[in-house]
């Protein structure tokens, strides 16, 4: 059962990811954004299979919720008809395709050859690991947590400054 679910979610993730960046039927950025949402949701399924329930929820809330709304807002501000009038540079596509296939082959054979998963046994997670995650976040990782909160503040101030009409 779990194996079948893994294959389903993995196939969906990869299919939607491919359709997001290289959709043969539509070059509309809105379509890409929608496929990105579907990719995030199927990735949350993979997280659930890995027993990372909290991260699955965060993935859906932050990525499929907040980040994608931001993307769609920005797409609305831009001219999306323009994308369809553009012509592709065939040389760039061929070169990009070849290099990406090469990288994929290298990654695939490295993972296969290194036998990285050998000897690692899945053991049952006891109880919910969300509690353990929270405990570690507020004890061992308290400093990074605070720094990230400052980072979010800095990002917020920066975005407000950037979106002003005339910078003084």
């Amino acid at each position: 059962m779990e194996n079948a679910l893994f294959y389903i979610f993995a196939a969906l993730t990869l299919l939607f990811a491919f359709l997001c960046v290289a959709n043969p039927f539509s070059r509309n950025p809105v379509t890409s954004a929608m496929f990105l949402v579907l990719t995030m949701i199927s990735m949350a399924g993979l997280f659930v299979l890995l027993q990372a329930f909290f991260l699955a929820a965060v993935q859906i809330l932050v990525y499929a919720g907040a980040v994608m709304v931001l993307f769609l807002f920005v797409i609305m501000l831009l001219d999306i008809k323009e994308e369809e009038r553009r012509r592709f540079n065939r040389f760039a596509i061929a070169l990009g395709g070849v290099s990406v296939i090469g990288l994929g082959f290298i990654l695939f054979s490295t993972i296969r050859e290194s036998k990285v998963g050998a000897g690692l046994k899945l053991t049952a997670v006891k109880g919910s690991d969300t509690a353990a995650l929270g405990k570690a976040l507020f004890t061992e990782y308290l400093l990074p947590f605070e720094i990230v909160s400052v980072l979010l503040l800095v990002a917020m101030v920066g975005v407000i400054l950037l979106s002003k009409k005339d910078l003084k």
Binding site: C20, L55, V62, L95, V100, D129, L152
Partner: protein
């Protein structure tokens, strides 16, 4: 065959490749940005898989921080794209050649 760490890593590697494909092939800034998000998510998937198979929570905490930083990065990046669009009326990298000799 049981699903091991290898299978998750291969999915993560392929996802990274698709993200890279988006960045290299597409010329629209927004879609290139979505490719970047895919690559970040591929790293997240690999980290969660490592954390699960080693029974160690540190990987999941790292993913938590990566998601937060990615959210901040998306906000700033999209604001930059909007500011650029206001100035140049275009979100295509081929139109942004001011630095070209």
């Amino acid at each position: 065959m049981n699903i091991g760490l290898e299978q998750y890593l291969i999915v993560s590697g392929l996802l990274f490749c698709f993200g890279l494909l988006g960045v290299v092939v597409r010329r629209n800034l927004l879609i290139m940005y979505m490719g970047l998000e895919l690559m970040l998510n591929a790293a997240n998937l690999a980290l969660v898989a490592f954390s699960r198979f080693n029974n160690n929570l540190d990987g999941q905490l790292m993913v938590f921080f990566i998601i937060t930083v990615a959210a901040a990065e998306v906000a700033v990046g999209l604001a930059l794209i909007v500011a650029l669009y206001r100035k140049r009326r275009s979100a295509h990298v081929e139109d942004l050649t001011t630095l070209k000799l």
